[in-house]
Symmetry: C2
Subunit: 265 residues, 2 copies
């Protein structure tokens, strides 16, 4: 039997999204099994996804897709299967992790970069945002000459038409939805609530998954560049504080907890 | 008889231009007779313009034009006429003088101002320069919201396509021509050359006139905003230093010198 607090937390963290199961599983592997040699049993995967309201059939389809796409692989261990990230899957996961788990803003500094309006832009920039065809806002100053560069200080107010280009409305809405979910669950996470090892794991997966969907779509820019309606800073601060408060449990501990549960029920 | 030094100075300061006589006369009145009640005799005007190679007939045409346009007026004094700036002419002259005679750059600070590329510019700016339809470089920060503003510091290199818009090629060429004239006359202005009161006055008029034609066309921006090929800073420093070294003589002193000259010759 789960506590009401846990049920409310799960409900609130899943309400605003129809999680794509394969994407959620990537969050599970990323949080629990990113180390080389780490394996997750089918039982543990089933237990976690069940708690989130995912049907066994939907999970099987997602596992099939992730194997086909090269994210994960599996091995038979006697009567059961274990699953693990492929080398490529681990690399993907490792490259995203710093952005997902950091408590810091994505960049310390940003620059306004303008190239000659009469000429097409000569640079491709993967971290910045193009405000117009010749104006880039970036934290990664391009090494090209003949551009006008101005540092964007935190104390400088940016106009709405500029910050409005930094992230689109759907991403702003996602940050608002996640922020209100985090505010809603806060009362249920007070000192009187105790969560089991498996409950903590499910909660972590949901926090990581919700935040990952937002932060990986956001540009690598300092917080002050974002529009006022962006709640990503609150989301990051709150989600990473909760992840620190409910640390990750080891896989052996989780597998043991699942086995005990299976035997009991 | 004029010294060779004086003749060379006059020749060099007039070589690169066909001075429009009415415009040159505005420089004469501006330098010598800007005060209320100041009057210049026809003899003095004729003497100054003669030295610059202007024919009496051309001077009469110019005087006619300036009277018609409301710049100057005249009075008969016995057998001769005296000329003076009208109230409007004095106001025009007074408003231009600070820019012409200052030893300082036109502005201390400049800003890069960008309005929404999707909307037409909402401001008219008389001191700045439009780099493109929505980008203004100005020393007079517009009091409007929703623009992106970045200070343009002296230590920040600006791209050529931006400084190239600050002043056009003909103005840059004029600054180069005047700068080389100033360099050419420098050896003739050493301690061994002595100039008469009237020679100094002619030299001043030519310096003021050459520099006025340039500085009043240049935008009111700090020196560091101008392109590298701009020689206006050298022109300003050198011309104002010469004006300080050869101070303005009083009109009574000049009129007396002309009378003496007329009687002698």
């Amino acid at each position: 039997m789960h506590s009401t607090a846990f049920q409310t937390v799960v409900e609130r963290l899943t309400r605003d999204q129809t999680p794509r199961v394969w994407s959620l599983l990537i969050s599970v592997f990323g949080d629990l099994a990113q180390d080389q040699g780490a394996r997750i049993s089918g039982s543990l995967l089933r237990h976690i996804t069940e708690q989130i309201g995912i049907k066994p059939e939907a999970m099987r389809v997602a596992i099939h897709r992730l194997r086909k796409d090269g994210w994960i692989d599996s091995e038979r261990h006697g009567r059961t299967s274990v699953y693990f990230l492929t080398k490529w899957g681990r690399a993907q996961s490792a490259s995203a992790s710093p952005r997902i788990y950091t408590t810091e803003q994505a960049a310390e500094q940003a620059w306004f970069v303008m190239s000659n309006p009469g000429q097409p832009a000569q640079t491709t920039d993967t971290t910045g945002v193009w405000i117009s065809s010749n104006v880039l806002v970036t934290s990664d100053l391009p090494d090209i000459s003949q551009v006008f560069v101005a540092p964007l200080k935190a104390e400088t107010a940016l106009p709405h038409w500029m910050t409005g280009k930094i992230c689109d409305l759907s991403l702003i809405r996602m940050s608002g939805d996640f922020a209100s979910a985090l505010r809603d669950i806060s009362p249920y996470l007070d000192a009187s609530s105790t969560f089991s090892t498996l409950e903590i794991t499910v909660m972590r997966v949901l926090l990581v998954h919700s935040w990952r969907r937002i932060v990986l779509k956001a540009p690598v820019l300092p917080d002050h560049i974002f529009p006022e309606s962006w709640q990503g800073t609150y989301c990051r601060n709150t989600a990473t504080a909760l992840l620190a408060r409910y640390p990750k449990r080891s896989l052996p501990e989780l597998e043991a907890a699942v086995t005990t549960k299976d035997l009991n029920i």
